[in-house]
């Protein structure tokens, strides 16, 4: 049994302009200890997916369909009180911007200890000791002294470490990381990723890593799902996605990252912007931006299928390479004519 199984999740927001389907029928699963990446542009529905799993969708948003099975139990059927006991305890979250995620008026130590006190039956003293231990584990020097520092006395990287310490303090089974390194500079980013990777292995915690950065995914994840306009457009083991991207959108994303040894003068970009989710284009929502789009793409909505067989994707198959493009169901007249060039050492000599 997978640790987390999300089936046909639909989360909507009710805005003045109309209903926004921020997540529209997304399915995926994460095994124990697995590192699963969710990639996409801003507004693709990555964060909303995570918040749905955490049970933190606030009005005017609502999960309208699907199920979220955690250890076999549907989280959507849990009472608020039961969800509260799971949050921070079995499923924890690392936020994007540690500076705003920490409360400025309480000490860092207190913010770690309060989570421990909430979920574990420990005295205040024990909670404090465990919090200091956590600070040490995430690599804060002099943890006992730093315990009583306020967030503004920490550097950006240390703040993010503190946020990770909070998330891991109750030894969760699933850690949801929402763009954990976006607010950091590159050198600190590498350290934080390494730390996350290390700690997840130590604690045997599964990670759901949300990012728009394909480089980060390559570094950490086992499997990855690419999202576009609220839907999963490609799902694959991480190497396969990089060596053989199957969806034109994923190809576009790959083309837009700079690489060492690259002889291109300018980076390619995907023309256009992601559609307004109030008015998603008919058919494939990517077709207005897709270089291979044909007439049929504006009529028929592609389903996520196994790219080998063209059969509907099986969420339980971890090795499967699935994509939501009509090319794999035989609806396109032409082929997707792109080439993947793998850069090796020779390429840049």
């Amino acid at each position: 049994m997978a640790l987390l199984e999300v089936n046909d999740l639909v989360t909507q927001f009710y805005t003045e302009d109309g209903t926004v389907r921020a997540v529209d029928g997304v399915s995926y699963q994460i095994d124990r200890g697995e590192k699963f990446g969710i990639v996409g542009e801003s507004g693709a529905g990555k964060s909303v997916t995570s918040l749905s799993v955490m049970g933190l969708i606030e009005s005017p948003g609502e999960i309208v369909d699907g199920e979220i099975l955690f250890k076999g139990e549907n989280l959507l059927e849990k009472s608020p009180e039961e969800m509260r006991r799971i949050r921070g305890n079995e499923i924890a979250m690392v936020f994007q911007d540690a500076e705003t995620a920490l409360n400025p008026v309480y000490t860092v130590g207190e913010q770690i200890a309060e989570g421990i006190r909430t979920h574990k039956d420990v005295s205040d003293e024990e909670a404090k000791e465990q919090a200091i231990e956590m600070l040490a584990k995430v690599g804060i020097p002099d943890p006992a002294e730093r315990y009583s520092d306020y967030p503004h006395q920490f550097s950006g990287g240390m703040q993010q470490r503190a946020v990770i310490a909070i998330a891991l303090s109750c030894d969760p089974d699933l850690l949801i990381c929402d763009e954990p390194t976006t607010a950091l500079d590159v050198t600190i980013e590498a350290q934080i990723l390494e730390l996350l990777d290390e700690l997840a292995s130590d604690f045997d915690t599964a990670i759901q890593l949300i990012t728009h950065d394909l480089g980060v995914v390559a570094e950490i994840c086992n499997r990855v799902m690419v999202m576009y306009a609220g839907k999963a457009v490609e799902k694959a083991p991480v190497e396969e996605l990089y060596y053989e991207p199957k969806h034109p959108y994923s190809v576009g994303l790959m083309g837009s990252i700079p690489r060492i040894g690259d002889r291109r003068d300018r980076l390619e970009t995907i023309p256009g912007t992601m559609p307004d989710l109030v008015e998603v284009p008919p058919g494939c929502s990517f077709h207005p931006r897709c270089p291979y789009a044909e007439e049929v793409c504006s009529r028929k909505e592609p389903q996520l299928v196994d790219t080998e067989t063209g059969e509907a994707s099986n969420p339980n198959d971890d090795g499967e390479h699935a994509a939501a493009c009509l090319a794999y169901t035989g609806d396109l007249e032409d082929e997707l004519s792109y080439q993947v060039e793998v850069l090796t050492e020779e390429t840049y000599e």
Binding site: R87, L102, N103, P104, T118, H152, I166
Partner: protein
């Protein structure tokens, strides 16, 4: 910087402000047309020499800067001189009324905070519901109603028609049941506007805080909604409220001058109003000085509370 060092620094900064307050307190009375000697002598005929002697007695013949320094010299040792009209010691005149004014002010202030903060929290948490709308209208009415009119209506309805409260204060010591019961109406009168204002402020600053990421983080930790609101959100929202609560002290002192008249409350406000019409300079100066000092102290306390609420301010 530690909290105690911050407090010492903040107290030192208040000293020049206090000197400014003494100058304004002394100088303000010079703006009123006429002087106390004219007031005393308005119905009598005295020789110019006798008039000169009177001016000299109260140092009113000296140049202004010298008058100020002479006055300041006495004020520093809490000698406020004697009333030109009654001849009584100003410090005594004020001290017999000060407790009444402080009691009225404190009660009004507590009503303002005691009603304003909880209703503000409720309105913010129940944003957009009928509760929020009702509290919005109540607050608007509370701010828009002139306090003297509210006081008169309360007397008319609750004292004159229903007889629940006395219309004038009982002749009893301040801390007696009868007198404290009487204090309810004037305190409500003054407290209404400040409760309304504080309620709206608490609501808006809570709503602002509720949208912040640390609130989501607190929820993601699995804290109860109670802890999220009362521990995390409230403390951050209070920073704005403390400023206004301190400024409210000035408004309450201000309001009490009028309301003490309406309720015949024997406080500083009534003494001041009478002294102004009599041009009784020493009393006016002492009264204004006291008020000014009270506001400076209130702001000082607000700053200290701030730095306790938000550690970033200390640095």
């Amino acid at each position: 910087m530690s909290l105690s060092r911050y407090i010492v620094k903040r107290i030192l900064v208040s000293i020049p402000v206090l000197i400014g307050v003494t100058m304004v307190s002394f100088g303000l009375v010079q703006l009123i047309p006429g002087d106390p000697i004219e007031f005393i002598l308005q119905f009598t005929n005295v020789s110019p020499e006798a008039e000169q002697r009177l001016y000299a007695k109260y140092n009113l013949d000296e140049p202004l800067w010298k008058q100020y320094l002479l006055w300041l010299q006495d004020v520093i040792v809490l000698d406020f001189g004697e009333s030109i009209i009654s001849g009584r010691d100003v410090a005594y005149e004020i001290s017999t009324r000060l407790d009444h004014t402080i009691a009225l002010g404190l009660f009004s202030w507590l009503i303002g905070l005691g009603v304003g903060i909880p209703t503000g929290i409720i309105a913010a948490v129940k944003r957009g519901t009928i509760t929020d709308e009702v509290s919005r209208i109540a607050a608007l009415l509370g701010i828009a109603t002139p306090n003297f009119w509210l006081g008169l209506m309360l007397i008319l309805v609750l004292s004159v028609n229903l007889g629940i409260f006395r219309a004038i204060p009982p002749d009893a010591p301040l801390f007696s049941v009868a007198k404290l019961k009487f204090l309810i109406l004037p305190s409500v009168t003054i407290g209404t506007a400040s409760a309304s204002l504080i309620m709206r402020l608490v609501r808006s600053s809570m709503l602002q805080e509720l949208n912040k990421e640390y609130v989501r983080m607190a929820r993601a930790k699995g804290l109860s909604e109670r802890t999220v609101i009362f521990k995390h959100v409230l403390r951050n929202s209070m920073i704005a409220v403390v400023t206004v609560a301190a400024i409210q002290i000035a408004f309450i002192i201000n309001g009490s001058v009028v309301i003490e008249q309406v309720f015949s409350w024997p406080g500083l406000g009534r003494l001041l109003v009478r002294s102004i019409s009599q041009r009784d300079f020493p009393i006016i100066q002492a009264g204004v000085l006291m008020t000014g000092v009270a506001i400076v102290i209130a702001n000082l306390l607000a700053d200290i509370v701030y730095s306790w609420l938000d550690p970033r301010i200390r640095y």
